[in-house]
Amino acid sequence: MIWSKEETLPRGQMEQLQLGKLKESVRYIYDRVAPYRAKMDAAGVKPEDIRELSDLQKLPYTVKADFRDNYPMGMFAVAPGELVRFHASSGTTGKPTVVGYTRKDLDVWLDNVARIACMGGASKDDIAQISFGYGTFTGALGLHGGLERIGASVIPMSSGNSKKQMLFMQDIGTTLLVATPSYALHLGEEVREAGLDPEKDLKLRIGLFGGEGMTEPMRAEMQKIWGKGFFCTQNYGMSELCGPGVSGECEALTGMHVNEDWFIPEIIDPATGQVLPEGQSGELVITCLGKEALPLMRYRTGDLTKLDYAPCPCGRTTVRMANLFGRADDMLVIRGVNVFPTQIEEVLLGVPEIGPHYHITVERIEYLDMMTIAVELIDDRLLDSYGQLDELEKRIQKRMHDVLGLATKIKLVAPHSLQRFEGKAKRVTDLRKDGL
């Protein structure tokens, strides 16, 4: 089911709608948010300069640091009395990022989440178990409100306590699970370990996943664990933009439909800030339309993806963003070429003679960037001759060159000799003095 008529607007009408809202939003933020007004003034842009959609590119970017510099509410456009809700996300360092909602903001947000729930196949007959942690995090209350709006019944379970999760699933007959993909896999394993067969013993049929990306291998694993009849989609958002509800996968699984009447996406080169043509991969930038408490222009999400405007079999006409393929912060610029560790990872995964761990060292030798990738040899059959090891190095080098367009150096090391990481892996050592 398609929740809103805006999801199927012809491109021309959508752009008209966006332009009208954009003009209003730019005027609104210029009048009310001093830090952004200062940026526009510095860039020499006035609200009246926005005459067509492409004028969006004249506007300066908003970045995460703007929230830190104007902590806690310096980016807000309304007085605290007009707010009805606060949320906060953990900042990467130090203070949290605080966001606020007016009554209208909350209404728009939950309507956008309702759309995403419908895209993922939810309906009023579903019993939805929210296994996101509640609290200031936007995920739980966002999905909670959106699912209630479509008429589903919601169990505000929160995360953890697998036994209780299973009990509710069995006794109340949960049909829909909201969780991070990794928690859904974990819970599924616990269900199996408890001797339950989800296909026979549970009614679960839908997963609405978010909070972190879901890779295709993870999706395949979901079906193994939760049963063949289980269908799961992922959705995208971040608290600065509203929370979940920015985009979500439909049943065609062709990418995440962006709720374009509220969010205009752009893709930029994270190194230069240049807007990239349709279909190219880069950093996602989002402009929020019609937000009252926290209007945001051209917010650099730091997430890497690409956009596809082709029509979708589901009937929606909204642009689709591809599954995220990493964070812009992880990007390296080697001899002017943008390199993402995920690209390197993909090449290495296709080489059976080596293990999954790697470490990248970047140095500048005589003014030339050199990237060395250390990988662990695991295949003993190559020990018969140096020639075979040499051939392996050359083969990896060639594949790297095909994918990255760069010459790299491959360094074979013994298994278990590279550092292992519990949480986020630190796989890059950049020895260049000036960073770039």
């Binding site: 003993d380 020990l383 140096y386 090891l389 074979l412 298994p415």
Partner: protein, 143 residues
């Protein structure tokens, strides 16, 4: 492969201080004796090749300690103490069309003659050729 072959253990080692020592240390702890050893290296890594008295346990313990280990068969030929002895072996193999990948020697034999270890592209043929040339091929049991 005939019983005339000797099993050799090849180990991938990083080119960093102490990596060879680590291997000998581990084998020593397990009471495994090293009879011959050869290490060739590139600037980045090396393959350590050894003949030991307990091949299977050497592979087992080193693998458990995180090394990449391979067992391959090599040919051992007794090097008699006379002029041109090594040259005769190599000549016989070359004339027989056998390509030698690498050789190393093996001296600790309790008073017996030293042994040259050959890895060739056709070890069976190498044994036959050496035998015809009246060069004694050493069996695994004799070590």
């Amino acid at each position: 492969m005939g019983e005339t072959m000797i099993s050799q253990v090849s180990i991938f080692v990083d080119n960093r201080p102490g990596s060879l020592w680590e291997v000998t240390q581990i084998l020593g702890e397990e009471g495994i004796n090293i009879r011959a050893v050869a290490a060739y290296d590139t600037p980045e890594f090396g393959i350590l090749r050894m003949v030991v008295d307990q091949v299977a346990s050497a592979k087992d313990v080193l693998t458990r300690r995180g090394f990449v280990v391979r067992i391959t068969e090599v040919v051992g030929a007794e090097l008699v103490d006379e002029k041109g002895s090594l040259g005769r072996m190599l000549e016989a193999l070359a004339k027989g069309g056998v390509n030698v990948n690498y050789i190393y020697s093996f001296v600790i034999r309790g008073g017996k003659a030293p042994v040259m270890v050959f890895h060739t592209d056709d070890n069976e043929k190498a044994c036959a050729i050496l035998g015809e040339a009246k060069i004694r091929v050493v069996e695994a049991g004799e070590l």
